[in-house]
Symmetry: C2
């Protein structure tokens, strides 16, 4: 990481708010609403991601709802790529592909339209937060099921420490704008 990237990372990190005990007691929630309501915060984040992925031949940005869309739409336009929605079950109107993944207690699913990704697409998967990596891995599976190639998995924030999100994404090109250690 170059000097200017380090500076940019610090600038972005400062604009992320910590909200204690959300969504439940003991969780330190990383709130990007303070980053995106800042004119430079959102722009710098998208530009930083663009620099990272501009030479990868990305044809589609597949973003995970809802916060991933804020950055993903702008990034897709900047890269000359199409934008694909990854959504919770039952939200997409057309025929879908679905992937189920495990949570601490129970399971969850993520869906994508069957025609969102085509064979040969080079796909950047994007979400705001890498925590346990379950959703992102399911998104990778969806893209590959549709015949696409995962060219990168990008995040605004990576929670480092006990969650080991990267371990679920071994073999993929994973990048996060900022890293925040999980407080134990």
């Amino acid at each position: 990481m170059s000097f200017s990237e380090k500076e940019l990372e610090k600038k972005i990190l400062k604009k992320i708010r910590n909200v204690p005990n959300f969504p439940k007691e003991g969780i330190q929630f990383k709130d990007i609403s303070t980053l995106v309501k800042d004119v430079d915060g959102l722009k710098d984040s998208v530009n930083f991601l663009y620099e990272k992925y501009r030479d990868k031949g990305i044809t589609k940005v597949a973003a995970i709802e809802a916060r991933g869309y804020i950055f993903g739409g702008a990034l897709a336009i900047k890269m000359g790529a199409g934008f694909v929605m990854m959504r919770k079950p039952g939200k997409l109107p057309y025929k879908t592909l679905s992937e189920t993944y495990e949570l601490e207690y129970g399971t969850d699913s993520i869906e994508m339209h069957v025609d969102g990704i085509e064979k040969g697409d080079k796909v950047l998967i994007f979400d705001d937060l890498l925590a346990t990596g379950g959703t992102a891995k399911a998104a990778c599976n969806l893209v590959e099921k549709a015949g696409g190639e995962v060219a990168g998995v990008g995040f605004v924030i990576e929670l480092t420490g006990s969650l080991h999100g990267r371990d679920k994404l071994v073999g993929y090109d994973v990048f996060a704008l900022v890293k925040i250690p999980v407080e134990e």
Copy 2:
């Protein structure tokens, strides 16, 4: 509307897919996933909106989850404005303002962080679809509660005919990229 705007409207309209009977029997759902996965579809939509609002002194784009974020983030960057999330209840981590509005059966609510909009902000409210106008009107109320001024209410699609969404937004500057009549 100029000749080139008419052409652009036609181009955008062609990229929106009709999905019959979603989310329930008899509803013709207007699917923008085919618009945004098209490189020009998303870019043209954002540029068209930008041209419409560039001279209004917009300081914040407040978009309604989730599809509104795809366009809203890119639009905010292009206009040099901040981006504010409007979300379903319980999704935002920090202190919120809330507005309740009526549905055909029952009510729904929409929330925004208390510090999303500041006094004096000139706000563009953005969503993908104007149907009955209930959500958009609640979003206007939220902005005004926070001391902001609603400088415009923008949509990708306006459903015209029996829904009368515009009637709920009288007094506001309402604009939609395309108009689609509701089939009865």
